[in-house]
């Protein structure tokens, strides 16, 4: 008994402890709401024993201490936590009590009964359910696991399930908890449940930067906010959200402990845990106190135990700020920071704050160093050694005469090149896309008076000349070829010429491009030292932007700048332009301003259909403007609708709020599916009747409306599936269906050609196929091998089916989840069938050529009479003539003397099977003889390399055969 109780207690304690970071005043919402719900749900079986609650509360801490030794491994982390626990219990007993009261109801009775009658399985189960009620600890998964194990030995075997259930019953964090109970955290990656109280709480508005300097990590499902909403909320109030827990993290925002890496790490580092309500309170608190909210906050946090990290962090932040501002003063060349934005208007910021020394460049310092080294060593490597240098050059064969800088636009490649050259005292000669860079004329005599390319040639190979003229003051020069991947139509032979230039060059050449893997540069890359610029991190960028902003007298907080840096995708130039633009209208920029601004003018990127669908259906999909949605769905008007159609089912629409039984979602699905179907109809109009003016209507129906209704979080249906949008399945399925249709048509044509029946393709598939399959496979399964094989081959011959058709029929009759029709047929039988069929093939009159052109195969020559069937006097003896003839005779008889036909024909039919066999054989030989003469020249003609050689050979034979008849 004591064991059990201890366990309960612990759970409760932890439940309370999960909110240690809460401000000391009782939270306004939590106590009000939780009991209400719990009462609602538990009222049915409310049998209170009040004494227990009190006892439980009292018991708690000692029990915990007793427990301690078991978890000796994590002593340090625990200590701090324990402090919280005790603190917490002291500070706010009321919610704790209430919680106990509600949740005790369930298990008090079982406990009592348990005392008296230990073995009562049903009760036990219930008991377990009750156990699960306890709010799952937000801090210590490991420990609870251990406890679970302990208890498992002693207690109920149905624990895990019970906990899951319990979680839901408690109604505090319903959905997510069930999963949280199962201790493996890995499923959580793939599916995150809806917040249980989605949209039920009012999101507070606080002072704009009340969370400034604080770093949050969000883990698991929150109580009422979607993760994205929470992120937005924090950022809006000046906080920072990172992906993983580190020392800098101040808070781990979690309403439940899913026991993932984050919480583990957080425990190790002693990070404070914060519930959603706690966060709300934090924000709400700051609202009236607008004067220096940061300090207030700091004080508040400082007062808390175990938040030393937090305390230090804002300070750090301050110092950082100081540092950075001082850094600006130092690093700025001095000319610009005095200038106010008023007189700086003549220059754009991008020009104004172009780095003046290499150290100013944001990020990629190692590459700059490399470039510097390369340039510095160039002369000694290639020039000063002169003739003797060849030996030396071979020593350092890796040293290239040119360098290729690559990276996305706006990250400072050109600037780097120029600055480094300047620093080393090189005179730069820049040639970019605005110059003609075609192949140099043969007449180099024209000299530098000619085209730029000639100029380059001169420059590059004629040292003497370069020393004489203007640049004689600069003994060294460097050629910067900007935008080499832009060498296009106008610059014919440009790259080849550039390579030639590199080979003979006496000055260093720096080539700059955006895409290193461009096809055009494939040859160039071998002659260059490739240096790949990476995008600077947002922190790096934000730092630099901060410097500039403060130099311009613009007040921006760091978070906002990070957001900006994030949005422009590493392009500093763009970030600066945006910043300058915004500075015209306001002098203080907030996170929201930037977000709003960039929502409209995010950097134009190449949007792949997947990103388009991600954005449309993403959590913020509802906030996009209509023209943005159209742009997104028009980015690939063919693929986007297909991807939408493939994935729309997987989204849990954010717009419907709480959806108890999924009806709302199902209704939305139906509506979306209809809209997609409409889109298909419009698409037909566009394609078939070329009504392109409808294309907007089409995207609207097939992308925008579905996205508008369904956007939200994506969930996964099959375990192990990656939670990304799948590629549209329609294309693949359609092509398979097309292939199968052609194969079926092939079978159809053969059946038609066999003259046995006149049917259409649909009938063949729907009605005939099952029986055909039976006739083809059943004998193989049942009868002895030889008989079966013979029977099947005969049947195939009757319908002039080949082995390929056999396979087609088997393939078409396969359904997923149904047994394969070929099951149970032994391999030897199959082999025997193939053999028998091959044997007969020499004597078989292939009556239909492969008229169906399969993709990937050369088209069959046109105007070919593929088959001609003349069941007349000549033809009959050759074909399965005898039987046909017989039948015709029968028919004649029938028609003439219809009345007594039945009596007469019956004996005939009895004989028929045997007759058929015999006649077929003799016929076979006959045909063989006939065909041999004709076949030979034809088979020679057909090229052996043809994929379906046998068929085409037969075709040749058949053609001639037909003609002969």
């Amino acid at each position: 008994m004591s064991d059990i109780r201890k366990w309960f207690m612990k759970q409760h304690d932890k439940g309370n402890a999960s909110a240690p970071a809460k401000p000391s005043a009782p939270p306004p919402e939590k106590p009000a709401e939780k009991p209400a719900q719990a009462v609602q749900e538990n009222s049915g079986r409310r049998k209170t024993s009040k004494y227990f609650a009190k006892a439980a509360a009292a018991d708690t801490s000692p029990k915990e201490k007793v427990k301690d030794p078991t978890a000796n491994k994590r002593a340090t982390a625990r200590k701090t936590r324990e402090v919280f626990l005790d603190d917490d219990d002291d500070v706010k007993p009321s919610p704790a009590k209430k919680l106990h009261k509600d949740e005790d109801d369930d298990f008090v009775l079982p406990n009592k009964t348990k005392k008296s009658t230990p073995a009562k399985p049903a009760k036990k189960l219930k008991n377990a359910v009750g156990l699960g009620v306890a709010k799952h600890p937000a801090d210590d998964e490991d420990e609870s696991e251990k406890e679970e194990l302990d208890h498992k030995v002693v207690e109920t075997p149905v624990k895990v399930g019970g906990r899951g259930k319990g979680g839901r019953e408690s109604g505090v964090t319903a959905g997510g908890r069930g999963r949280g109970g199962g201790r493996g955290g890995f499923m959580n990656f793939s599916e995150r449940k809806d917040p249980p109280h989605k949209g039920e709480k009012e999101v507070p508005e606080g002072a704009p930067d009340c969370l400034a300097g604080l770093t949050f990590v969000i883990s698991g499902t929150l109580d009422s906010l979607e993760r994205e909403e929470a992120e937005d909320l924090i950022k809006r109030h000046g906080g920072r959200v990172t992906g993983s827990v580190s020392k800098k993290t101040n808070y781990l925002l979690a309403d439940e402990d899913v026991g993932g890496n984050k919480s583990k790490k957080a425990k190790e580092l002693g990070t404070t845990f914060l519930t959603e309500d706690g966060l709300f309170d934090m924000i709400r608190k700051t609202m009236p106190v607008k004067v220096s909210p940061q300090k207030d906050l700091k004080k508040k946090i400082g007062g808390k135990a175990g938040s030393s990290q937090v305390k230090s962090s804002p300070q750090k932040h301050d110092t950082k700020d100081n540092q950075s501002s001082s850094l600006i003063k130092k690093s700025s060349v001095g000319s610009f920071d005095k200038r106010k934005s008023g007189d700086g208007n003549s220059l754009t910021w991008t020009e104004k704050y172009r780095p003046k020394v290499p150290n100013d460049i944001v990020g990629n310092q190692s590459i700059i160093k490399q470039l510097h080294d390369w340039l510095a060593r160039w002369n000694e490597q290639f020039l000063q050694t002169g003739q003797k240098g060849k030996g030396k050059k071979q020593n350092d064969s890796g040293f290239k005469k040119a360098v290729l800088l690559s990276g996305s636009p706006g990250i400072g490649k050109s600037t780097t090149a120029k600055l480094v050259s300047q620093m080393l005292g090189f005179k730069t000669i820049e040639v970019n896309a605005s110059d003609s860079r075609g192949k140099a004329d043969g007449k180099i005599l024209k000299g530098i008076g000619g085209s730029t390319s000639n100029c380059i040639k001169e420059l590059v190979n004629n040292e003497a000349l370069s020393y004489t003229k203007d640049w004689s003051k600069h003994p060294k020069s460097v050629l910067i070829m900007d935008e080499v991947d832009g060498m296009s139509a106008g610059d014919r032979g440009g790259v080849a010429d550039l390579i030639a230039s590199i080979k003979i060059s006496k000055i260093p050449i720096i080539c700059i491009c955006n895409d290193r893997y461009s096809q055009k540069l494939k040859s160039l890359i071998n002659y260059c030292l490739p240096l790949n610029f990476r995008k600077p991190t947002k922190q790096q960028m934000a730092k630099r932007l901060m410097q500039i902003a403060s130099a311009e007298g613009l007040q921006v907080n760091e978070i906002a700048l990070e957001e900006l840096a994030d949005r422009v995708n590493g392009d500093i130039r763009m970030a600066l332009n945006q910043l300058q633009y915004m500075s015209f209208s306001q002098s203080i920029l907030e996170y929201d301003d930037i977000k709003r601004r960039l929502l409209t003018s995010a950097k134009d990127e190449d949007i792949s259909p997947f990103t388009a669908v991600d954005k449309l259906f993403g959590f913020n999909g509802g906030k996009l403007r209509m023209d943005e949605r159209i742009d997104l769905s028009m980015s690939d008007p063919d693929l986007v609708p297909l991807i939408v159609q493939e994935n729309y089912i997987n989204y849990r629409p954010a717009s419907i709020g709480k959806d108890e039984n999924g009806v709302k979602r199902m209704n939305l699905l139906a509506r979306v599916a209809e809209s997609i179907a409409d889109g298909d109809i419009v698409n037909v109009q566009i394609r078939r009747y070329r009504q392109w003016q409808l294309s907007q209507a089409s995207t609207f129906a097939s992308c925008i409306l579905p996205a508008a209704l369904m956007h939200g979080n994506r969930e996964v249906f099959e375990p192990g599936e990656r939670n990304y949008n799948r590629f549209g399945g329609w294309l693949g399925k359609n092509s398979t269906a097309g292939k199968n249709l052609r194969l079926l048509e092939d079978v159809h044509v053969h059946v038609l050609a066999s003259q046995e029946s006149n049917l259409d393709r649909e009938t063949l598939r729907l009605d005939y196929l099952p029986l055909l399959l039976k006739q083809l496979t059943d004998p193989l399964r049942v009868l002895p091998k030889d008989v079966a094989v013979q029977k099947v081959v005969e049947f195939m011959d009757a319908y002039s089916l080949s082995q390929e058709h056999f396979d087609t029929i088997v393939e078409l009759a396969k359904f997923q989840g149904h047994p394969n029709p070929m099951d149970g047929i032994q391999a030897t039988v199959k082999a025997a069938l193939t053999k028998a069929y091959k044997q007969g093939s020499s004597s078989r009159h292939v009556r239909v050529a492969d008229m169906i052109t399969l993709p990937g195969q050369k088209k069959a020559p046109k105007k070919r009479i593929a088959a001609m069937l003349e069941p007349d006097e000549n033809g009959l003896p050759e074909e399965n003539g005898d039987s046909l003839l017989e039948r015709e005779e029968e028919e004649e008889e029938d028609s003439s003397e219809k009345k007594d036909a039945d009596d007469e024909i019956d004996p005939d039919h009895n004989q028929k099977p045997q007759l058929d066999l015999r006649s077929d054989k003799s016929k076979g030989i006959q045909v063989e003889l006939d065909l041999k003469i004709n076949d030979k020249p034809n088979t020679k003609k057909t090229p052996a390399s043809k994929p379906r050689g046998s068929a085409s050979a037969g075709k040749g034979g058949s053609n001639s055969g037909k003609r002969r008849r």
């Binding site: 599916a673 209809e674 399925k733 029946s757 649909e762």
Partner: protein, 354 residues
């Protein structure tokens, strides 16, 4: 050879099921001129058999000397040339083809082939028939444009060619065409007729038929004679001698569709919808025509459905079937139907049972 083909009547005289129609046709043909004909009726009712027998009646055994050809067509359509290939089955007297195979370019085929035939008038001087017959299958699947182009050419070249059109539903053939043809409705055979035919075959094959067995097959055949005979033979392959309560196995695809239907009835959730989509794809990939899937799915669902909902569900099925014909990607429409059904059924269940 399969029994369906083996016992297919080859002349009008031997036709058992639609004896009356056969006799009328015979009379029609014996009087010199023959109008354009439109045969329509459900599958497995004997349209094709009638047509073939009719051709034989008209042209004698010559109509049975058929050659199968994969004809290429090159058509000048203004600025571009369209190349098409189509399988035709032709004798000296008639050409049979399935123009709807050409997809939305079927109208070119129609225009072209009739012109071709009109150009070459049969030289059968002594013969009484100075026209050729063009048999067009699945006319109901022709696009509207093709049907419109058909109606002009039908009149223009009627001197040298006659059309025999064959389709399942006359409602999808435009009024203009219907009025230019002699409409022959070939109704589905009654179960009694089917039983008669089956027993005839059983007698010829010398089979022991337990009483009521053929009736059961007939009942399951959906009044399609072809299907009845085929499943009769399937039973024969599966087990002989027959037993009175032998199971008549449903067709593979029908079974699959009914599985889908029970999947849908069991659970209505996005996950299930996703699963159903996979199964529908499976059917489509296996060349089952989407209209037939939808129809069968509806009838399977109706079996299990509360009568309150039947009307509404039928309405939606018809709605989506119509849309499917206008559209191109059948799966979208079937899926939309399934989603709609799930939505209706789920709300119904919750409204009724809470």
């Amino acid at each position: 050879m399969l029994w369906v083909d083996k016992y297919r009547p080859r002349t009008l005289d031997k036709i058992i099921v639609h004896e009356e129609i056969a006799q009328n046709l015979k009379k029609l043909v014996s009087e010199q001129d023959c109008p354009h004909l439109l045969f329509y009726g459900p599958p497995g009712s004997g349209k094709k058999t009638l047509i073939m027998a009719l051709l034989k009646q008209m042209f004698g055994p010559g109509a049975e000397k058929v050659k199968l050809e994969n004809k290429p067509w090159k058509i000048d359509a203004g600025s571009r040339t369209i190349e098409l290939e189509l399988t035709t089955l032709s004798s000296t007297h008639h050409i049979e083809l399935n123009p709807s195979d050409a997809g939305f370019q079927d109208r070119y085929i129609i225009q072209e082939i009739i012109k071709d035939m009109a150009k070459i008038r049969p030289l059968d001087a002594k013969g009484k028939r100075s026209f050729k017959v063009l048999v067009l299958n699945q006319v109901d699947k022709l696009s509207k444009e093709a049907q419109h182009s058909l109606r002009r050419t039908m009149e223009k070249y009627s001197a040298s060619c006659r059309l025999i059109l064959c389709c399942n539903s006359s409602s999808r053939v435009t009024e203009a065409i219907r009025s230019r043809c002699l409409n022959m409705r070939v109704s589905a055979p009654t179960p009694e007729q089917i039983v008669k035919v089956l027993e005839f075959i059983g007698k010829k094959e010398n089979l022991q038929l337990p009483p009521g067995f053929t009736a059961r097959i007939a009942a399951q055949s959906n009044r399609s004679l072809r299907r009845a005979i085929l499943s009769f033979e399937t039973c024969r392959v599966q087990q002989y001698p027959f037993t009175a309560n032998q199971a008549i196995s449903p067709l593979d695809w029908e079974q699959y569709v009914s599985e889908i239907a029970s999947d849908i009835m069991k659970e209505q959730s996005p996950k299930r919808l996703f699963l159903v989509r996979g199964k529908l794809y499976e059917l489509l990939v296996n060349c089952i025509p989407p209209e037939i899937i939808l129809k069968k799915l509806l009838s399977e669902l109706l079996k299990k459905l509360d009568s309150e909902l039947k009307h509404e569900v039928c309405h939606w099925a018809a709605y989506y079937e119509h849309k499917m014909r206008q559209g191109q990607k059948a799966i979208f429409h079937i899926e939309a139907f399934v989603a709609k059904f799930m939505s209706i059924y789920k709300s119904f269940l919750i409204a009724t049972f809470g």
